[in-house]
């Protein structure tokens, strides 16, 4: 029993490490882009610090989102929860609100087209691009 718990914990830990590595890599790429843009170099420690920070903040976000969803007596996390999460930073909130509106609009259009197309029977033919957007949203 203890061994199982340990192995499970080890698995979780290794999984976590892999996630952290992925985050670290992504942060490194982004920092390289910014370095090229601003003509300023990033030290390795900086990238490591940013990646650690990002990881921990993601954990916090996840907990907050779950709390918000439960507060609204829901079991699924909604865009409303995300907007609530981003309310602190005005620019971020604005960006997210715009994006969410865009997505909502796309959804509406899709539904309208689905209704139209129900007679034709071909749903995916017209908007492959939007499908990509839908996938990214999901």
């Amino acid at each position: 029993m203890e061994e199982e718990a340990e192995t499970e914990e080890q698995q979780r830990f290794s999984y976590q490490q892999r996630l952290k590595a992925a985050v670290h890599y992504t942060v490194g790429c982004l920092c390289e882009e910014v370095a090229l843009d601003k003509e300023m170099q990033f030290s390795k420690q900086t990238i490591a610090a940013i990646s650690e920070l990002t990881f921990r903040q993601c954990e916090n976000f996840a907990k907050d989102l779950e709390m918000f969803a439960r507060h609204a007596k829901r079991t699924t996390i909604n865009t409303e929860d995300v907007k609530l999460l981003a309310r602190r930073s005005n620019s971020l909130l604005k960006y997210i609100t715009d994006k969410s509106e865009e997505i909502a609009q796309i959804n509406l259009e899709r539904k309208a087209q689905k209704k139209k197309k129900s007679g034709d029977g071909s749903k995916n033919s017209k908007q492959p691009a939007e499908a990509g957007v839908v996938e990214s949203e999901n």
Binding site: D64, M67, F68, H71, K73, E80, L84
Partner: protein
């Protein structure tokens, strides 16, 4: 005669002495009621200018009345302990009465002339303000001799005998003397017992923060208040039995007898009037059962009252302060609190007492506690107590905000344990302001997120969870139990009351 003795020189003692020395020794049999009434009058009239006149007129009146009433009253009084002359009475008073007069009712003049006119009627003629006391005094005195231990009687007998020997003018039997002594002593004892320095029971603390009243300290007024409070038992006796007495503001009760408190209360009410829900808490709190301690506690909440000293329980926010041992102490602390000269020194003294009380503010976010209190208890408080009439109209929004934060700034400066610059304190106040604004915005958003228009404790819990105070291991109830006093806890955690009711509901 009233002009004979200036107020400063004449004390009851000296006046009685004068009367004893000058008055003719009389030993007619007198009705006990007259004697009791005279004694009462003498005891009650403290350092009033008319005392000499009163005693003289009383002596004269008694002599007149005694002759006419003596026969009829004699039969009535035969059952009581007899053989007491005014002289012995006065002597006993001098012997037994405490140096400082316990009672100094203002309406002393009333009973005396009334008594002169109506001799046989005891209680009715007695002063109206002391109605409550007189009946109390009457039965004990009659019962006193029976109740007293024989040892005490003997002691008093010895004293009285000595006194008699000294005076050499009285031929009184020992027993009546002892009884007189005993009764007078018990009367004085009763008087002391009747003094209303009763510990103020648990008061309902002001839930919300109120800005501390800013008033210059008036030492003379303070001392006067101290004296007045100790000298006004009847009102206290009356007030205590009423669970929900009228709010102190505007009420001329001596009981709350801190005259400063009504004023400060009014000020606080004004300041609180324009504030958010937080103000409703304390304002309503003021209507809580009329107990000065409570009121003071409420004020303390706002203005660093040392209510903690009175608070029995540890819980902080709630007036938390239980019994107030002494009025004087309260007043003192309040005065200290109100001193503007040195906010730090003022805060240090009362806040040292509040340390336990207010740590809850420091550790967890004070605002959540306040917000919880403001949201939930505001309504129950409204239900429980009639809203206090606001003396002034609503103030501009900014002032109450900043005024209310000074309380927390004082707390901050106390916990800093070192002197702080005024600018630093101002910055702290700004930060607190921003913090509370942010907090309340969050609460509003949380409530809207749940599709509600009212902020409920669930929103507070969510906020505290985000702050890390409420975790999976530590729930909100646990924090409430840990940090809040009983009064607040009752409002938050369902508690069963009499009549098969649970409050708050569910």
């Amino acid at each position: 005669m009233a002009d004979d003795n200036p107020d400063s020189d004449s004390t009851p003692r000296t006046l009685l002495r004068r009367v004893l020395d000058t008055a003719d020794p009389r030993t007619p049999r007198r009705p006990r009621s007259a004697r009791a009434g005279a004694r009462r009058a003498l005891l009650e009239t403290a350092s009033s200018r008319r005392l000499s006149g009163q005693t003289r007129t009383i002596a004269r009146g008694r002599s007149h009345g005694a002759r006419s009433i003596g026969r009829s009253a004699h039969i009535q009084a035969s059952g009581h302990l007899e053989e007491q002359t005014p002289r012995t009475l006065l002597k006993n008073i001098l012997l037994t009465a405490p140096e400082s007069s316990i009672l100094m009712p203002e309406s002393v003049v009333k009973p005396v002339p009334a008594r002169q006119v109506v001799q046989p009627s005891r209680q009715e003629s007695s002063c109206g303000s002391l109605e409550l006391q007189l009946p109390e005094l009457e039965p004990p005195t009659t019962l006193a001799p029976g109740l007293l231990a024989p040892g005490r009687r003997k002691q008093r007998l010895r004293l009285s005998m000595f006194q008699q020997g000294v005076d050499q003018g009285l031929s009184l039997s020992q027993e009546p003397q002892g009884n007189a002594d005993a009764s007078s002593l018990t009367r004085s004892l009763n008087l002391t017992f009747a003094t209303p320095l009763q510990p103020q029971s648990v008061q309902r603390p002001g839930l919300a923060r109120r800005p501390p009243a800013r008033r210059a300290v008036d030492v003379g007024a303070f001392l006067r208040d101290l004296r007045d409070t100790s000298l006004a038992p009847p009102n206290i006796v009356l007030e205590d039995t009423q669970p929900f007495s009228q709010p102190m503001v505007g009420s001329p009760h001596v009981y709350h007898s801190l005259p400063c408190t009504p004023h400060t209360g009014a000020e606080d009410a004004e300041q609180a009037a324009g504030r958010k829900t937080q103000s409703s808490g304390p304002g309503l709190q003021k209507n809580s059962p009329g107990k000065p301690a409570q009121f003071l506690a409420g004020e303390a909440e706002e203005g660093d009252a040392f209510a903690l000293g009175f608070l029995s329980t540890s819980s902080g926010v709630s007036g938390e302060d239980e019994v107030e041992p002494l009025h004087g102490g309260v007043e003192e602390a309040e005065k200290k609190m109100e001193e503007e000269a040195s906010p730090e020194s003022a805060s240090s003294t009362p806040e040292s007492l509040q340390a336990r009380r207010h740590h809850q503010f420091i550790e967890p976010a004070p605002a959540p506690g306040a917000a919880v209190l403001s949201s939930e208890p505001a309504e129950p408080l409204l239900v429980r107590h009639p809203p206090r009439p606001r003396t002034t109209g609503p103030r501009p929004r900014q002032d109450p905000h900043k005024a209310g934060l000074s309380h927390y700034v004082k707390l901050f400066s106390f916990y800093a344990k070192m002197p702080m610059e005024r600018k630093a304190l101002e910055m702290v106040e700004k930060c607190l302001d921003k913090y509370f604004q942010h907090l309340c915005d969050d609460l509003e958003v949380f409530a809207a997120h749940a599709g509600r228009k009212t902020v409920k404790p669930e929103d507070l819990e969510l906020l505290m969870r985000r702050q890390g105070l409420v975790t999976d291991q530590v729930s909100l109830h646990v924090l409430v139990e840990r940090h809040l006093p009983l009064e607040y806890r009752q409002l938050l955690i369902p508690c069963a009351y009499s009549g098969n009711s649970v409050f708050p509901a569910q």
